[in-house]
C-alpha cells in the first residue's frame, strides 16, 4: 500500500452550537464535543484507510475554553500516524463568535482501528507527514502509544524507551 499524507485525510466539520447541546450555563456540554470530534476523526481515519473504522481509544483531552450557545465550532481532524491496523488522529477545535472572533478551543487525540465488514482489523497505509507540525505530531505519536501500552499494563515501563527519556532526561 502506498503511503499517504495527513492532508489527504483532512476532515472539516463546521456547525453551530444548538440549544439542545448546552448545559444550564448555556455552554456546550463536554460530552457533545467529544461526540462531534469522534465523528470527524472517524471520517478522517476512513479517508486514510478506505475502510470502516471503530474508535479504539481517546487520549487525554483538556477543555480549556467554555463554548457558548450560538457559537460556530470547527472541528478539524487529520491522521497523525498510522500503525499496522490502527491510526492516531489529531483533532484541532476552533470556535467563532458572531463578531468574527476566532479562538483555538481544544486539541484532542483519538485512535481508530480499520475493520472489514465482519469487524476484523485490516491493514492501513503508512503516513508521510509533510509540514513541521505534522512531523512533530508524528514523532510524539510513538511516545503516546508507549504510554498507552504502559498504562494498560501491556508494556513494561523499562521497555518504553521514548518515555524513559522524558522522565530521566
Amino acid at each position: 500500500m502506498q503511503s499517504k499524507t495527513p492532508s489527504q485525510s483532512r476532515t472539516t466539520m463546521t456547525d453551530m452550537v444548538l440549544p439542545s447541546e448546552t448545559n444550564s450555563l448555556n455552554k456546550l456540554f463536554g460530552g457533545e464535543l467529544l461526540a462531534r470530534m469522534d465523528r470527524a476523526a472517524s471520517i478522517a481515519a476512513s479517508r486514510h484507510s478506505k475502510s470502516i473504522t471503530v474508535t479504539a481509544s481517546v487520549n487525554h483531552v483538556a477543555f480549556n475554553m467554555p463554548v457558548p450557545l450560538g457559537s460556530v465550532v470547527t472541528v478539524e481532524a487529520k491522521v497523525s500516524r498510522a500503525f499496522t491496523t490502527s491510526m492516531e488522529v489529531y483533532i484541532d477545535v476552533w470556535m467563532e463568535d458572531v463578531n468574527g472572533g476566532k479562538f483555538k478551543a481544544n486539541e484532542a487525540i483519538y485512535t481508530f482501528v480499520a475493520v472489514d465488514d465482519s469487524g476484523k482489523p485490516t491493514k492501513v497505509p503508512a503516513l508521510s507527514p509533510e509540514t513541521e507540525l505534522e512531523k512533530e505530531r508524528f514523532a510524539a505519536a510513538l511516545r503516546r502509544k508507549q504510554l498507552s501500552l504502559v498504562l494498560a499494563g501491556k508494556m513494561k515501563p523499562n521497555d518504553a524507551t521514548e518515555l524513559r527519556a522524558l522522565f530521566m532526561g
Copy 2:
C-alpha cells in the same frame, strides 16, 4: 464597509449519514439534507456579515442522487452575491462512499438576511467574486433575484430585463 471575497465565507460541514436520518430505503431524507444545508449556509452568511442571519428563501433544489446510509456528506457553502441587507449563498454537496468514491450530489441556493439582536435587517458588505465560477454565479444571482420577485408578484415581468432576454433571446 469593505467588500469581501467568497472564500472569506467558505464553510465546510462534513458529517456522516446516521440511521436516524434515513428513510425505509436506507437513503438520506431530503428534508435532513435541506436542514444541514440551511445550517452551513447560515454560517457562511454570518461569516460574511458578522451578524446573526435568518433564512429568507430557498431557491429551486434538485435531489439528483440518493445518498445511502453510512455515506460521508460534505456541504460547502459560500456567499455568491450580497445585496443591501441580504446575501445569496451557493451550496455544493458531495458524497463519498467507504471505498473513497466521491460524487457531486447536489447544488442549492439559499438567501439570508442579516439582522441585529432585535431581528431588524442590517447592512452587509458587498461581494467581490474572484474565480470564473464565482463570477458566473455572481452574475446569475441577479437573474434569480428578478425571477423571485416576478414569481412573488413584486416585479412586473416586463421590468425583469435579465429574464426577458433569456426567454426572448
Copy 3:
C-alpha cells in the same frame, strides 16, 4: 389507474416549536421547517401513489414570518398535480400563538417521485382538482415544471410555451 382528488392525499402535521429547533433569537430554524415540510409532503405523495416516495426537488420557498419558540405550527400538504411517475405537492404552513392568534406563515412546493422497493420509478394515478384553488394550482404546476426544465437546461426556452406567454404577454 383511477384518478384521485387532492383531498385524498391531504396530510396535516401539527406540532410545537421545541427549544432544540430554534436559533439564538428563539425563532424556528428555516432548515427545521424545510425538514417538517418534506416529511408531510412525502406522506401526501405516498397517500396519492400508494408507494414509497423520494424527494426530487424543492421549488422556491420564502420564509416571510419568523416563528417563535412555543408556537404551534401546522403543515398541510396536498398533491397539486401528478405527472407520469412524479407528483407536485403544495404545502401551506400556519402558526398559532398561545392566545389563539393564527397566521399563514409559508407556502412551499416540493416534487416527489414514486419508487418501488428497489428505488425504480413507478406510475402514479392522475389528479382531479376540485376547488377553485386546487384548479389554479394544478394549472400553474405545468408552468413550474417548464421553468424547472429550462433552468436545468433540459428544455429550450422557446419550447416553454407557458412561460414565454408570461414574459412576452
Copy 4:
C-alpha cells in the same frame, strides 16, 4: 367564558415512524408514542383554553397493535370534558402502511391543567359535546375522574356514585 365544542380543539399530528424511534423488532417504542400523544393532546388543551397547559395525568393506555418502522401514524386529539381548571383530552391513533391500509392502533386519555405564566392554574371554558361519540366520552369522563380520585385516596369509594353503579349494577 363561552363554552366550546370538541371540534374547536381538534389537533391532527400525522408523521412517519423514524428508525430512531424503533426497538430491535423494528416496531415503534411505546414511550415514543406516549410522547407524541402528549404533544398533540397538549396542543388541543391549549386551543381550548387559550393558555399554556401542563400534563396532569395519563389514564390507562393499551398498546394493542405494534406499529412497524416506515408506517404513517396519525394522532388526533380533542378535548372530551372541561372541569374548572383542567381538561380531559381523548386521543385516537391510526396507522397506515404504504399500501394504503389504515387501522385504529390506540386510544388514550390524558388530563391537562391550564396555567398562567407563573404556573398557577387558570379557569377554562366549558365543553359542549356535539356528536354521539363526543357525548358518550363526555359522560364517561366523570366516571374516570371519580375513579382517579378514589385510586389517589382523595374520594371515598362510597361517594363515587357513578362507579358504584358500575360494579353493583
Copy 5:
C-alpha cells in the same frame, strides 16, 4: 422456570433534564418523562424475562410535581408482578436540584409482554416479592389487572371479586 425477586430486575436511569425536553415554562414535558419511564421499565422487564419485551399498557400516571430544566431525574423500575407472559413494572421517579434537595416526583405502572424474535409472547418466571412494599404492590397488581380487564370489556364487573370488595366494602 425459577421465580425471581424484584431486586433482580431493578433498573436505575439517572439523567439530566436537557433544554430540548422542556416546554416554554422550562419544565420537563410529561411526554418525555413517559418515554424515559418506558425505556427503564422495558429494561427491567427484559432483565426479569431474559427476552425482548414490548409495552402492553400504561396505568394511570399522575404528574404531581413540575420538573425544572437542569434537574437530575432518577427513574427506578422493578417488576412488581409476573403473569403468564406479561409483567407489571412499578416505576418510582425522584428529582434532585443542584443544592442536593431530593423529592419523590412520580409513580407509574406499565405492563410489558415478553416476546420472541418473531414477536410471539413467551412465558416468564414468577415473581417472589421480598420487602413489605414489594408485597403490597404484588397484591394490588391483581386488582389493577381486573380493573383493566373490566374497563376493556374483557371481564364482567361481577367477576372482578377484588374490585367489588373495594366498592362494596
Copy 6:
C-alpha cells in the same frame, strides 16, 4: 466542608443502545458513549460538590468491546478524588445482552470543575475513600494529575515524583 465518601456521589445510568446511536456495523458509536459518560460523571460531580460542574478533561479511554444495537448499557460514575475546586470521576461501563449476559465494557476517568452561577470555580469537599478499590483509585489519581500537568507543560518531569518512581523503579 465535611468530607464525603465515593458512594455518596454514585450515579447509575442504565439505558438502551438505540438505532440512532449506532454505526454501519450496528455498534454503538464511541462518541455516543463518551457523551453518556460525560453526563453521568457530571451528575456524580454535582452530587459531591452540590454545585454546577463543567468538564475539565478526559483521561485516556480505551474501547475494548464493541457494544451492539439493542444492548443495555450501564454507566456507573463515582468521584474518585477531590482537589481544591476539581474532582476526578471514575466511570465503569457494563453491557448486557438480551440473554442476560453481563460484561465489563469500559473504564474511563473524567475531571470536572465546580463553578458558581457566573462560571467561577468554587471549593469542593474532600473525598474519603472506603473500599480497597476506592483507595487504590484515590492514590492513582495523584499520579494521573501529575501526568496531566507534565503533558500540558505545567509541571517539570523532575517534579513529578510519583511518575518518576513508575518509570525509574
